[in-house]
Structure formats: C-alpha cells, structure tokens
C-alpha cells in the first residue's frame, strides 16, 4: 500500500534532481552552445579538434570528424585543375539516388601534373538543395575523387546561385580532407597506397614474366598482357587503373587503359 501521492512525489524528486543536477553534472546538461565548446564539455564527442583550431575551422567543421554533409571533389597538392582526381566517368551521376549531380565531360584529355593525360569534368555541378548526403557517390567512385565534406553553413538567399555548387566550389585539396576527416583520409590513402603497391608488385611480376617470355619467345608477351587484363577484369570491384591524380606516382610504363571504359563495365545502373 503506497503513500497517497507517492508516485507524484517520486516524480517531483526526479525533476528536482535534474534541476539541481543541471548546474553541477555534465552528464545532465549536455548542451554545447558552440561546436568548439565540445572540447571542454564532453570528452568523447570532441577529441577532434583543439579549441583554437576549432574556432578557426568553425566555418568548415561540424562537431565530429565522422559527420558527413555534401560531396566535394578531391585534388592533390598543386593547382586544383591540374591535380583533380575526377576523370568525368559519370558513374556518380548515374548512381546518385536523387539525381543531383550533373557532369559534362571535357572533349579532350588534359595533361595532369606528373601524370598521364586524362579527361576532366568540364562541368561538375551538385545541387545541394536536392542532395541527401547519402554518400553513394563516394562509394561508387573508382578513383577516390569524390568524398564528403562536412561544411554545413550553406544557407543562402538564392537557390540556383549558391546552392548549386559548381566545380570550382567543389574542388578541395587532400590536405583539407585530412583536416576534416583525419581518420577516414588516412585510411583511404593507406588503401590507395596498398592497392598501388599490389599493382606495382603484380606489374613487376608481369614484367619479369614478360622478360622471361621474351627470352623464350617474342609471341608470349601478348599472352602475359592478356592474362593481366583478365585478372583485372575478374576483380570488378577494384579499379584497375591507378588513380591518375596521384601526384607522387611515377609515370606508368604500362599502356594507359582508358579509365572511362573500365568503370562503365562496372557501373550497375543499366
């Protein structure tokens, strides 16, 4: 038999505890007025930026390095258009669920600094008023050319003025990517490096085989190459081409496989 009104009094005790607790207990008052205050308040949410840096970054960062917002195009160190990774293969355009990407491929190939000539996007627009931040473009991109930005302060008075991000707005350097998504960026670069190393090794093996074959017969050279191509085709999830914008990449001796045809085979849309 409970005391009359005991349930109400218990509830009032809880609210009183919370009222008082909100002044003393960080567990109870979890509000951060500004993103960079997080560092002072909740250790697990912050950890990402020291306060001073966060204040400088406040226009470009959200609260955590894990958050994603809208896509951006990556380029490596140097002039953006010289080192842009995108080769205008248009997979992302086809796969984008809300159809917010619009790409026009350049008519001719362009020399990239320290790399072979590639197509480049003459137009690359993302209508962020339509984009739903799903990250599918990032997943399907075989060149690691498109990643998610975390900039969120995009409010503007006009829709097609500023909410339609043009190519030059979207181009961001790899350093910036490292700054906003440190973990993800290093993991991605590690993967790219691994893939490259694996390719190099394979190429070396192929070259060795070629040498051997050349010694034996000049005809077998073509076979080795065919074998290599077959190997590359059998693994459709892995892009067989080195990301062309890898600025440190040594010029490949391999005849360039046109990167636009390969991914189109992989493309799943039609």
């Amino acid at each position: 038999m409970s005391v009359l009104g005991s349930g109400i009094f218990k509830g009032m005790a809880v609210t009183l505890k919370n009222f008082v607790g909100s002044y003393f207990d960080k567990e109870r008052l979890t509000t951060n007025e500004y993103a960079w205050q997080a560092n002072d308040k909740l250790p697990e949410r912050a950890g990402d930026y020291p306060k001073e840096e966060a204040e400088q970054l406040s226009d470009t960062t959200t609260v955590t390095q894990y958050s994603r917002n809208f896509p951006m195009l990556l380029h490596d160190a140097g002039e953006p258009m010289d080192t842009v990774r995108c080769v205008a293969c248009q997979i992302c355009e086809r796969e984008c669920p809300p159809q917010c990407i619009y790409i026009e491929k350049s008519t001719e190939k362009k020399e990239r600094s320290g790399n072979k000539a590639q197509f480049y996007p003459a137009t690359f627009d993302i209508d962020v008023s339509v984009c739903m931040s799903c990250q599918i473009c990032v997943e399907v991109c075989p060149f690691d050319a498109i990643v998610m930005n975390s900039q969120f302060e995009l409010s503007t008075p006009s829709r097609f003025g500023e909410l339609l991000l043009r190519r030059d707005d979207l181009l961001k350097s790899n350093d910036y990517y490292y700054k906003i998504h440190p973990e993800e960026a290093s993991a991605r670069d590690k993967r790219i490096a691994d893939e490259k190393a694996a390719k190099e090794a394979k190429k070396k093996a192929a070259e060795a085989a070629k040498k051997k074959a050349a010694e034996a017969k000049s005809k077998s050279e073509a076979e080795a190459k065919a074998k290599e191509e077959a190997e590359a085709a059998s693994k459709p999830t892995e892009p067989s081409d080195t990301p062309p914008a890898e600025s440190t990449a040594t010029p490949s001796t391999e005849p360039p496989a046109t990167p636009t045809t390969e991914p189109e085979k992989e493309g799943s849309a039609e």
């Binding site: 159809q99 917010c100 619009y102 627009d125 209508d127 339509v130 097609f160 339609l164």
Partner: protein, 191 residues
C-alpha cells in the same frame, strides 16, 4: 527463419488453386478467394491467422530475354513472354503456430481488375487493400470502405501502374539540369 507452410493440403482441398513453383505462391481464382482464405485461417493445420502484407503487382506485356545454356554448353538467348495481368499478393503467417509465410495470389486482368476483398477474413487487409485500390486501381469486391487513401480524392489515374504517365504538374520545381528546367524555361510553368 520461421518454418514455411506446406502448400500441398491446399491444392488437395481446392482443386482450382494452382501452385506457381517459380515464385513459390498459391494462385487462387478470384471467385474462390474468400473461401480459400477463410479455410486457411480456420483450418487446424494451417491457422494462418495473420495476414502480414498485401501487395498489388502490375505486369505489362513484356518479353524477357534469358540466357540459357543448351546441351552443347553454349549460351543462347531464350525469349519468354510475360502476359499482362494484375496480381494481389498476400503474405500469410500463423501467430499461433509461429509458421509462415504462405504466399497467396489473386490474379486478375488489367482492363477491369477485380479481386475479392479479404478484409472480412483478415482485418489487416483493410487499409492495404484500400492502398492497392488507390495506387493500382484494383477494385476489391466487398471492401467496406473503398476510397482513395494516399492520393487525394480528385486524383485521376493510378500511379503505381507501370504504364502510368505523370501529368504535367505546375507544382514541380525546376532543378538546374533536367527536363523540368527546360519546361520551365519554355514558359510552360505557370507560377
């Protein structure tokens, strides 16, 4: 997964009912649907007391190309034709026996699609059949309250049909690159 229900007794009990092995479904003639459904619900062995999902499907006349290996090991293309029809699919489970699903279909034509309403057997069909009526235009005989549910009452056509063509809608907002923008620029959009 829960234990699937054997369909054999249904075929024995109701000779009209067919079994489609490719999709694993009972095909019930529209006229007998209520009878079969009531039997499935009340029969001791089945006790399919829970109708989980009711769906419409619209098939147009379609030709399928399928690559089949022939005896010599070569692939050759076989063309199947899929006749135009409409189907109402019921996914039945038993809460009592914890078995299921048994898939049941009512097949009807596309010109004047009619199916039996099973709302009297399973109450859960009520809103779902209304939805099918709304989106596919299948008329449910004996449905207590057959009105549009998701679209507004004045809406014309049934949007989930495969041959549905969207009318031009002035509410479409232009996006920078697609045909709506073209229409917008042509001045066909009235604001």
């Amino acid at each position: 997964m829960s234990e699937p229900v054997s369909h054999e007794p249904v075929l024995q009990h109701f000779p009209d009912v067919e079994w489609d092995d490719a999709f694993g479904t009972l095909i019930v003639p529209v006229a007998k649907a209520t009878e079969v459904a009531t039997w499935l619900r009340d029969d001791e062995a089945f006790r399919l007391d829970y109708c989980s999902n009711v769906t419409g499907i619209d098939y147009l006349d379609r030709e399928f190309k399928e690559k089949v290996k022939n005896e010599e090991g070569k692939t050759e293309t076989v063309i199947h034709t899929d006749p135009a029809r409409m189907e109402v699919v019921y996914h039945l489970y038993s809460m009592e026996n914890r078995t299921g699903p048994l898939v049941m279909r009512q097949r009807t034509n596309r010109e004047k699609p009619e199916a039996q309403s099973l709302t009297a057997v399973w109450r859960s069909c009520e809103l779902q059949e209304r939805e099918i009526f709304d989106l596919y235009g299948i008329h449910f005989i004996g449905h207590p309250d057959q009105r549009r549910i998701l679209m507004w009452d004045e809406f014309e056509g049934h949007p989930m049909r495969k041959d549905y063509v969207e009318p031009f809608d002035y509410e479409w907002e232009p996006t920078p690159h697609d045909e709506i923008l073209e229409k917008h620029q042509k001045g066909t959009v009235i604001f």
